[in-house]
């Protein structure tokens, strides 16, 4: 493979070097690598083809670098493992040799070939040749790309003033950044401020939280917006423009929180902070430790809702701090990073008729219980049952109310088991004679120190009974409660009479999650919590660059986990802001303005709102920094005005052409998205799941990149079948781009039907990165379809789509 071509104009001549890796015996065991390399040498533009044992080793990389210089290679193709593993390695080697890293291409002949065709050496070698051919065909069309650098504004926005938001704000402010903390309620503190003690250490919750809250209030780096909500978010990583609507408190900062106004207020209503167990006035402070401590007027319930009718608070206030002329204010903030710590709601058990919450006064929720046992609560820390204000002799806790069942959330709420164990111990601590039953499904004491606490509760005499009560019946006069159910360990029915029942309610996503989701273009898991970018390795990142998650917004978690996650999110935001800039992978679309017809279809399908179409000005603009590179816009554009860099139409066509050059009628052309289905196919390889050899996978970043013309081209070139695979609906790594895939495939099926073709030759598959078997069985299923395709049918298909470009 000596380079013998004449070098007349080296920059115009494409010189590709191909490296076929043995990977020890991982590839060479089932693929004749030498043969593949020899074949590669015959391909157009290939000036050098080698096979070696470990291309990723230092020697392997050095060889590439040496060859690039010696043979003046300007494209490098490595046929080895999955690009998800070593693409960064080889890209770096290319860069070190002075080659733009986007001039590198990989052929996956391990996970997608040798490992899944362990016992078919002949066919696997043929497939490897095809895969190399595809990579070379694409490589010939690769262009060098410049990566864009985006500056990062060194200010952060934290949404939600619970313990997670507080921790994240303090961390970032201590690191020296300006932080805006936006809280919907009149005070920060969140759920942690409501509860009495924390498990497993039994610390007083507000005692450890209050100092942090006042730190937030005092910190010169933190600007606090309470009673405020985000109304609009624009921009992209590092450069967000956020509008915050601050509702007036009607009390100025002159307030000394003396509380005289509250005493003078004629309006009385239930206090939200005490879950309605205590009263407050229309001018009030939610709780004594509130930050800011300034009082607030609940204008909705105040006599002065529409007109100034009552002046009691104004006349009582010595500092003249009450001001009913205050108006809502909209503040516009420019921030570089955003941390969403919007928290969770609690399950409302009144929908469960068999437990009688809302009907029987002595059935309380665990949140109400927290207020009852809290010394700062309405009962002054005395465990009183609401019906007669007496200390109950027996208390029953019912677990998993609204968790792990169809009624409520299907998932575990994480905190309720330990919360109950803690509550039971608290009762035992104050009133040792109270008998306590805990009805449970499983007690999940998985955390540090949890099992000890659980054991302590058992030692203290708390009775744990497996099996939730089927029904609670109230005794009319005494308001005692009779619990009926089955003890599933003893296989016996039980009837237990208790004085008070605590429903251990689960957490559920915030009711306004969809608003937050829309504002920050986040995605959500099926149970409604916000989804992280990667469940294992990027647990606090979101699919939107520069936006991070902390606390219960991501999933139910206890205080320690919330704080841990808040620190992590702050640290991730800090990395971006400390760098001051971020580079964007050059896989974003470039716009060919002359071709653009300003139709706006691209902007409509963009999950990131990264394309701005101005019909009046007749201008389309791609905001590269906001773009994540899914390519849905490129697939949607009817006038080919958007070129998806590094995944251009021409490159993908070249790959399709390479597949269908020989024996097209025996092959399946597959399009897999980088994140789920391609990774799933990798997983099938890693697990050595065997499937037929006639599938050829083309990698795109998202299944949304797969335009109908690609499928048409594959069929026009005689492909027997086409597979389009993506992430499960709702799990898309580009928020919702795969819904476009679904639409396009459904449209194409209709076209096939009209043309009198069998629909099953085009298959759509949703497979996650863990579902290798789904990919493998789909290929097996399609191999049968391929066999059933008669030559006449292929001819007919070629004619039907032959005219399609």
């Amino acid at each position: 493979m000596e380079a013998t071509q004449v070098k007349s104009k080296p920059e115009e001549e494409t010189r590709i070097g191909v490296y076929v890796c043995h990977c020890g015996l991982n590839i060479a065991g089932s693929v004749d690598c030498e043969k593949v390399a020899k074949f590669a040498a015959t391909l157009p533009h290939v000036v050098l083809a080698r096979d070696n044992r470990y291309t990723c080793s230092d020697q392997g990389q050095e060889l590439i670098k040496k060859d690039v210089r010696e043979y003046k290679l300007n494209r490098v193709v490595v046929a080895s493992c999955t690009p998800r593993l070593h693409e960064p390695t080889f890209r770096r080697a290319c860069e070190e040799a002075g080659l733009n890293k986007y001039l590198f291409e990989m052929a996956n002949i391990r996970e997608h070939c040798s490992w899944v065709h362990l016992y078919e050496r002949e066919k696997a070698t043929e497939k490897a040749k095809d895969l190399v051919k595809m990579a070379v065909a694409k490589a010939a069309l690769l262009e060098p790309q410049e990566e864009m650098t985006v500056p990062i504004t060194r200010r952060a926005l934290v949404i939600g003033g619970g313990v997670a938001g507080i921790q994240a704000s303090l961390d970032l402010a201590d690191a020296g950044y300006k932080v805006y903390l936006v809280e919907k309620e009149p005070s920060i503190g969140g759920r942690m401020a409501q509860i009495d003690k924390t498990f497993p250490t039994m610390d007083c919750s507000i005692c450890i939280l209050a100092p942090k809250m006042s730190d937030v209030g005092r910190h010169p780096g933190i600007e606090l917006f309470t009673n405020s909500e985000i109304t609009n978010v624009q921009g992209y990583i590092g450069n967000f423009k956020v509008k915050v609507l601050e509702e007036p408190r009607y009390v100025t900062k002159d307030c000394s929180a003396c509380g005289d106004c509250s005493k003078a207020c004629p309006v009385t209503l239930p206090n939200e902070f005490d879950v309605g167990l205590a009263t407050r006035h229309a001018i009030y402070t939610p709780f004594p430790q509130a930050v800011p401590s300034t009082y607030i007027v609940d204008r909705e319930n105040c006599l002065n809702k529409n007109f100034i009718v009552c002046e009691n608070c104004m006349t009582t206030c010595e500092r003249n701090a009450v001001d009913f002329t205050m108006l809502p204010e909209t503040v516009e903030l420019e921030v570089g990073t955003i941390i969403v710590a919007s928290g969770a709601d609690v399950f409302d058990p009144s929908s469960l008729a068999n437990y009688g919450f809302g009907k029987f006064p002595n059935v309380v929720t665990s949140l109400e219980f927290e207020r009852l046992i809290n010394a700062g609560g309405p009962s002054g820390g005395k465990l009183l049952r609401p019906s007669d204000m007496q200390i109950p002799k027996t208390v029953a806790f019912i677990q998993c109310v609204g968790s792990r069942s169809e009624k409520g959330s299907l998932s575990c709420s994480n905190i309720c088991c330990m919360n109950t164990v803690k509550d039971a111990l608290l009762i035992k601590e104050h009133w040792p004679d109270v008998k306590i039953y805990v009805f449970y499904v499983d007690i999940r004491a998985f955390g540090k120190g949890f099992e000890d606490l659980f054991r302590r509760a058992k030692e203290e005499g708390v009775v744990f009974i497996r099996g939730l009560p089927a029904e609670i019946i109230e005794t009319r006069k005494s308001h005692d409660l009779l619990l009926i159910g089955e003890n599933t360990l003893e296989k016996k029915l039980y009837k237990v009479s208790v004085g008070m029942v605590v429903l251990s309610i689960g957490l559920e996503p915030r009711k306004d999650s969809d608003v937050v989701q829309r504002l920050f273009t986040l995605s959500r898991t099926p149970d409604g919590y916000f989804m992280e970018a990667h469940p294992k390795l990027r647990p606090v990142d979101t699919p939107t660059g520069g936006v991070f998650l902390a606390g219960c917004a991501e999933s139910p978690k206890d205080i320690k986990d919330s704080v841990t996650q808040a620190c992590a999110a702050a640290s991730r935001a800090n990395i971006l802001m400390a760098q001051g800039k971020v580079t964007i992978e050059a896989i974003t679309p470039s716009l060919i303005a002359e071709k653009c017809k300003i139709c706006g279809l691209c902007a409509k399908v963009c999950p990131y709102n990264a394309i701005i179409v101005d019909r009046k000005e007749k201008r389309t603009e791609v905001v590269e920094a906001a773009c994540a590179g899914c390519g849905t816009c490129g697939a949607e554009c009817p006038s080919e005005a958007l070129t998806m860099r590094h995944f251009t139409d021409e490159q993908i066509f070249a790959q399709i052409n390479a597949i269908t050059e020989h024996d097209a009628d025996k092959k399946i052309v597959a399009f897999c998205c980088n994140w789920c289905s391609y990774a799933g196919a990798d997983f099938a390889g890693v697990s050595r799941m065997q499937y037929p050899t006639n599938v050829r996978i083309i990698r795109t970043m998202c299944s949304g990149r797969v335009a109908e013309k690609f499928i048409a081209r594959a069929f026009a070139r005689g492909a027997a079948a086409v597979l389009v695979a993506g992430c499960h609906l709702g799990d898309c790594h580009y928020i919702n781009a795969n819904y476009q895939t679904k639409k396009r495939i459904e449209r194409f099926w209709k076209r096939m039907e009209t043309a009198g073709l069998r629909k099953e030759r085009l298959q759509l598959l949703w497979a996650s990165a863990a579902e290798g078997e789904r990919i493998a069985s789909k290929v097996r299923e399609m191999a049968e379809i391929v066999k059933s395709v008669a030559p006449e049918e292929t001819e007919k298909t070629k004619q039907a789509f032959g005219s399609v470009k």
Binding site: T268, V309, V346, S350, P378, M389
Partner: protein, 95 residues
Amino acid sequence: MNTMPLRLWRKPLDADQTVVPCAKVYIVNQRCDGCGFCIDFCPKGVLARSEEMNEKRIYPPKAIDETRCNLCGFCRSVCPTCAIFPVERELKEQM
């Protein structure tokens, strides 16, 4: 902006310590000119126009729900003919 975490159905525990004035709203029908200020401005919606006419052939207000009255006395302040005034009756538990 306040969000109540749960449906409210329970009587607050401190309800017996919280006393709210209970009012009797006196309306002098003959004096009323029917301007309707008291009805429009009552912050608690205690008043409504009665169906019966008075001697001046106008419809005076009537108290539809005196328990809601907070005794702010604004009706008395706005009434041009001094035809309405609430009086504190006795102390009563709220809710």
